[in-house]
């Protein structure tokens, strides 16, 4: 059993009143709060250690470089990558996906297919639309079943020798669906295509083993994993990253620059142009250590309990309509209440100190599918409690009365 009180004590932000009430933070799918160790890691870096990396021969620069590279090694271990040069630091999942999608612009042609799904976050839709526009490739979409599962039969039908890339989310931020990534990967590889998994909602909640999965590209954000904003990861198999054209040009990513001919640096530097978010990357290690120390399965178990409890309690509300009831779900509950606009619910809950997310969750096609303008979403993290869910249910009922 975990001691949630002890865990909460490590998160300074949680201990505040909002609109006179104890804060209940259920917007973890958007961004988690940060434990003191992460906040301290940033302050310590700037107070003791700050310098630009990779080029300086002086002590501070070397120390900063070593710490920066330590995080790379930690990420490698965290997702079980084969080599640390397969870990590219970006500014977030969106940046990671764009890096790959931009590279594919020149690798695809008319007649090639990219397959995404109906449940993707805009960050895993728009880059591919832009990629198709430039390359002439066609974007195909895996539909979802009404319960929120991917239509796997439809997926198999979409796959063909024309398929060059599949880009699907591991866990849906709008529905909570855990997709069968192993199966998606196997099927994709059967037709000789590559697959990118958007892991933004997965790395905070589930063990990811990129070698075990045999996934080609995997993307995620530190800020959803108790880590700092402005840091993301692109994992890619070494051979594929070597094939992928560079994304941004600049310092760090070159071997040699002349006006006649510029050659690019080896991995991972080829994809890390410019001064990175050094403080953020270094502090991200503390966030991963926080997760590893607790154990990702402990976190998942706790969050599962919360999802189940919340689902049960929400059912006591009249007019409750769950959006997304996939067989396997993680860490969040998405719903609407008959006759109520999610925005109105969100505003009134906020007045009662409760932060949930309402709206389209950057997944408008999903909203289109369910013919709703948005949903209300409670998304959980390791520091949330059943008592908080109780407060939230009471608040929803009060809002319902006010709005009725």
């Amino acid at each position: 059993m975990i001691d949630v009180g002890k865990i909460r004590a490590q998160f300074p932000l949680l201990h505040q009143k909002v609109n006179g009430e104890n804060l209940v933070y259920f917007d973890n799918g958007a961004s988690t709060q940060k434990p003191q160790v992460v906040i301290d890691a940033i302050a310590q870096y700037y107070s003791n250690n700050n310098a630009n990396i990779h080029r300086g021969v002086h002590y501070l620069s070397q120390k900063a470089t070593d710490k920066f590279e330590e995080t790379r090694d930690t990420v490698q271990a965290f997702i079980n990558a084969n080599k640390s040069c397969e870990i590219i630091f970006t500014k977030g999942t969106t940046d990671s996906i764009n890096l790959v999608a931009n590279g594919y612009r020149s690798m695809l042609n008319k007649g090639d297919d990219i397959i995404i799904s109906e449940m993707e976050h805009h960050s895993n839709i728009v880059p591919w639309q832009m990629c198709c526009e430039v390359s002439g490739a066609t974007l195909k979409v895996i539909p979802i079943l009404d319960n929120g599962d991917l239509d796997m039969d439809a997926f198999e039908n979409l796959l063909s020798e024309k398929t060059k890339l599949v880009a699907v989310t591991h866990i849906s931020n709008a529905l909570g669906t855990i997709n069968p990534v192993e199966k998606l990967i196997t099927l994709t590889h059967k037709v000789g295509a590559k697959i990118l998994i958007d892991g933004a909602q997965a790395t905070p909640h589930t063990l990811v083993d990129v070698q075990g999965l045999d996934v080609d590209f995997y993307c995620f954000s530190a800020h959803k994993m108790y880590g700092p904003t402005g840091v993301g990861v692109l994992y890619g198999k070494e051979a594929l990253l070597n094939e992928l054209p560079p994304y941004q040009g600049g310092g760090e990513m070159i071997k040699e620059v002349s006006f006649e001919k510029t050659t690019y640096a080896d991995l991972p530097h080829k994809f890390e142009a410019g001064t990175p978010n050094i403080a953020g990357v270094i502090a991200f290690k503390a966030a991963m250590d926080f997760i590893t120390d607790l154990g990702i399965s402990t976190i998942a178990k706790h969050e599962d309990t919360l999802v189940q409890y919340a689902t049960k309690q929400l059912l006591t509300i009249s007019g409750m309509q769950f959006i997304g009831e996939a067989k396997k779900r993680a860490a969040l509950v998405s719903f609407n209440i008959e006759g109520l606009h999610p925005y109105d619910i969100g505003v009134l809950l906020d007045k009662m100190g409760i932060a949930i997310r309402t709206g389209h969750h950057c997944a408008q096609p999903i909203m289109e599918h369910y013919k709703v303008s948005g949903t209300a979403r409670m998304s959980f993290a390791i520091y949330n409690t059943k008592e908080e869910i109780d407060s939230c249910i009471t608040a929803i009922k009060k809002a319902q009365t006010m709005l009725a």
């Binding site: 606009h341 925005y343 109105d344 505003v347 009134l348 709206g359 303008s373 006010m402």
Partner: protein, 139 residues
């Protein structure tokens, strides 16, 4: 019809009487529930202001420099605030609207409803109301 300044003062007084946020929001919700505040024929794509979460339809009529706004929203609270904004700015002279300083928003504690988050579309609505007035004021 009072001046924009006078109506704002009125509103501040009214809102001062509420004991807590609940009374205040109950009042806004009541406003939001009132009859449609816009003719159905104006509820068209062209008049739509898209917040990320709630949507606002805004229509303006100009009668000799006096502007009448009608509007609606799909969310009740947004609609209630739309009603308040209309009460302050509608049926006023374009020049007055253009230069109006909407101090009441802060004073009645609705600042968060017109914040930079692009959620409800209200900030864009106010901007459009003012832009419309600005375009007319010197005619």
């Amino acid at each position: 019809m009072g001046t924009i300044v006078a109506i704002q003062a009125e509103l501040v007084e009214e809102f001062d009487m509420f004991e807590d946020w609940m009374e205040k929001y109950e009042y806004i919700i009541d406003l939001g529930k009132s009859l449609p505040m816009i003719d159905d024929k104006h509820k068209i794509e062209d008049n739509l202001i898209k917040g990320c979460q709630s949507r606002v339809w805004l229509h303006a009529d100009n009668d000799n420099g006096i502007i009448t706004y009608t509007a609606d929203s799909d969310a009740i609270i947004t609609k209630g605030i739309v009603a308040i904004l209309i009460r302050v700015l509608s049926k006023q002279k374009a020049a007055e609207i253009a230069k109006a300083d909407l101090v009441f928003i802060d004073k009645i504690g609705l600042k968060e409803q017109l914040s930079q988050t692009r959620a409800n579309g209200l900030l864009s609505m106010v901007k459009e109301m003012k832009l419309y007035a600005l375009a007319l004021k010197d005619r």
